[in-house]
C-alpha cells in the first residue's frame, strides 16, 4: 500500500449527526470525502463552487460544479417541482428544497442523496432558513400559514396558521421570518429568537390588497407586490413599530395592459447602485426607481414581458429574461446608461439566470432545450453547457450566506 494518507481532518458540522471527515490522500489517489460514513458520490469535498439545478418536470435536481462547468449527479424523488425553490444550510452541505406539492426535502449535496423528506402541506409556495441555520420555514397555500421545522431533523417546531395563503416568506436578522398574507393583506414578523416553538408575532396591517409575492432586500427592507391594487408596499424593519409605505403608485397600472403569460417574480427586483431595477407588469419595459424615495425615475424598452431583472454581482449590468412568447431571449442592460447593450438568444424557454458569486460567468436554464448554458459575462460568448431535464431554477451555494435567500 503505497498510498500515503497525508492528513485526516475531522470537522464537526453544526449538528452532531452530520460529521464529515475529509481525507486528503497521496499522489495517485483522487481526493475523497467521507460523508456520514460513506464516500462522497462525487470527488469534490468542498461545496463552495457547487450548485443545485431544479429539473421541474421530473421531480429531480442536478448537483453542478461551477468550476468544472459540469453536472456531478442527479437526485430524484422530490415530487412536484413546478415553482420550486430552495435554500442552503450555513455549511453549504445541504439544500432544503420546497416543492409545489408541500414536499420539503433536505438534500445532501456531497452524498448526492435525500437526507430527509417530509410532505408538510397540500400546496406550498416557498421557504426560508433562519439566520442561525437552525429553523426552516415553509409558506403554504393549502392549508395556508407558515410551518417551521428543525433544520437538522425536519421535525415540526411551530405552526402559525395565519388564516389563509401566505407568500413572500423570507428570513430577517435576529431569528426572524417575515411573511405576507394573500387574504389578510397583512405582513407578520415571526420572531423565534426567544422561543423557537412560540414565536413573538408583530402584525403589520393595511399593507395592501392581495399580496402575491414579496422580497427581502438586505435584511432591512421588505417589499410587497400587490395583486388586488396598484403600487407596491415597502416595510422598513428598522422602524419601531414597522409600518407599510406605498411606493410606485402607478406600478402595474398600464392601459391597455399586454397579457402577462408569466408573473414577474419580485425576486426579479435588483438594487443597482442607487436605483431599483424591476420588471414592469403588462409592459415590455424595465422600470427604474430611486431606492430612497421609491419614485420612478426611468424606463428601458426591452424585448418582452420581463420576468427576472438580475444584476451581475458587481451591479454594472442587468440581465433580463422574458415571459412567453419571448422566452428565448435574454437582454443585458447597462446600469449606468440604462440602455440595452446585448440581445442574446441562448436557447428555448429561458427560465432563470444565476451568476457565479463574483459575476464572471452566468448560468442560464433553457427549459425547452433541456440544457443549462454557461456564458462569459464580459464577452457574451458561450463557455459551456450542461444537459438537464427541463431545467428551471439554478441555485449556487453562496446563497447560504446572504439574508433573504
Amino acid at each position: 500500500m503505497t498510498r500515503a494518507l497525508l492528513l485526516v481532518l475531522s470537522l464537526a458540522a453544526f449538528s452532531s449527526s452530520a460529521w464529515a471527515e475529509v481525507h486528503i490522500s497521496g499522489d495517485s489517489e483522487p481526493q475523497r470525502c467521507l460523508v456520514g460514513g460513506n464516500i462522497a458520490v462525487h470527488s469534490s469535498c468542498g461545496t463552495g463552487d457547487l450548485g443545485v439545478v431544479i429539473e421541474r418536470a421530473t421531480g429531480s435536481v442536478l448537483v453542478v460544479d461551477q468550476s468544472d462547468r459540469a453536472s456531478l449527479c442527479r437526485v430524484e424523488g422530490l415530487g412536484d417541482l413546478s415553482h420550486a425553490s430552495l435554500t442552503f444550510s450555513p455549511d453549504e452541505r445541504f439544500a432544503y428544497i420546497f416543492g409545489r406539492d408541500g414536499g420539503l426535502s433536505k438534500v445532501d449535496i456531497l452524498g448526492c442523496a435525500i437526507d430527509k423528506r417530509i410532505v408538510q402541506a397540500g400546496n406550498a409556495i416557498g421557504g426560508a432558513i433562519s439566520d442561525d441555520g437552525k429553523l426552516v420555514a415553509v409558506s403554504n397555500y393549502e392549508p395556508g400559514g407558515v410551518k417551521v421545522f428543525d433544520a437538522d431533523t425536519l421535525d415540526p417546531v411551530a405552526d402559525i396558521p395565519m388564516g389563509g395563503k401566505t407568500v413572500g416568506l423570507a428570513d430577517a436578522p435576529g431569528g426572524r421570518f417575515v411573511v405576507a398574507g394573500w387574504d389578510s393583506g397583512e405582513v407578520w414578523v415571526l420572531d423565534h429568537s426567544t422561543d423557537p416553538k412560540d414565536p413573538a408575532i408583530t402584525k403589520i396591517e393595511n399593507v395592501g390588497a392581495n399580496p402575491y409575492d414579496a422580497l427581502m432586500i438586505g435584511g432591512r427592507t421588505y417589499l410587497v407586490g400587490l395583486f388586488g391594487e396598484k403600487g407596491l408596499s415597502r416595510i422598513d424593519l428598522w422602524a419601531d413599530p414597522p409600518s407599510a409605505e406605498r411606493i410606485l403608485p402607478d406600478y402595474g397600472k398600464n392601459e391597455p395592459d399586454l397579457p402577462v403569460y408569466k408573473m414577474p417574480h419580485l425576486q426579479g427586483w435588483t438594487l443597482a447602485g442607487d436605483s431599483y431595477a424591476l420588471p414592469a407588469v403588462g409592459l415590455h419595459q424595465v422600470l427604474w426607481a430611486d431606492a430612497r424615495t421609491g419614485a420612478e425615475t426611468a424606463r428601458t424598452e426591452v424585448a418582452g414581458q420581463p420576468v427576472f431583472v438580475t444584476a451581475r454581482p458587481d451591479g454594472r449590468e442587468l440581465w433580463v429574461n422574458f415571459a412567453p412568447p419571448d422566452n428565448g431571449k435574454v437582454q443585458v442592460i447597462d446600469a449606468v446608461t440604462h440602455q440595452v447593450k446585448q440581445t442574446l438568444e441562448p436557447g428555448k424557454g429561458v427560465l432563470h439566470m444565476e451568476f457565479t458569486p463574483r459575476g464572471r460567468e452566468v448560468w442560464l436554464s433553457a427549459r425547452d432545450d433541456n440544457k443549462v448554458l454557461i456564458y462569459d459575462t464580459r464577452t457574451y460568448e458561450k463557455l459551456g453547457e450542461v444537459e438537464a431535464q427541463a431545467p428551471s431554477g439554478i441555485f449556487f451555494t453562496d446563497r447560504a450566506h446572504r439574508s433573504g435567500l
Binding site: 421541474r56 418536470a57 412536484d80 417541482l81 413546478s82 415553482h83 409545489r100 406539492d101 400546496n123 409556495i125 397555500y141 393549502e142 402575491y212 395583486f227 397579457p259 402577462v260 403569460y261 408569466k262 408573473m263 412567453p324 412568447p325 424557454g349 427549459r367 425547452d368 427541463a390
Partner: protein, 90 residues
C-alpha cells in the same frame, strides 16, 4: 373528438408542452393548482369545453389568468380544453 382532428400531431405536442409547462407555472405541473385554480379532470367535471376554451382565449379579468388568443387559435383552445378535461397530467 371533432376539435382535436383539426390539430396536426406536431402542433398537438407543442400544445401539450405549453399546457404542462406554461399553464403549469400557475396551475401546477399536475394541474392541482397554485396561484391559479386546480384544473384536473376531476375539477373540470361537468364543465363545457366551449366555456373553458373561451376562458383560455380571453382570460379572466381581475385575475392573473391572461388571454391566450394572441398565441393560439380557437381550435387549439378547444383542443386544450378537451385535453384538460380528459388527461391526467402526472
Amino acid at each position: 373528438m371533432a376539435a382535436t382532428s383539426a390539430i396536426p400531431p406536431q402542433r398537438a405536442a407543442e400544445l401539450e408542452h405549453m399546457v404542462i409547462q406554461d399553464c403549469g407555472s400557475c396551475h401546477g405541473l399536475t394541474m392541482k393548482g397554485g396561484l391559479g385554480k386546480p384544473i384536473t379532470p376531476a375539477d373540470l367535471e361537468g364543465r363545457d369545453p366551449e366555456g373553458l376554451a373561451a376562458i383560455i382565449l380571453d382570460g379572466v379579468p381581475g385575475t392573473a389568468m391572461p388571454p391566450w388568443r394572441p398565441l393560439i387559435t380557437e381550435d387549439e383552445a378547444l383542443w386544450i380544453a378537451a385535453y384538460l378535461m380528459k388527461e391526467k397530467v402526472e
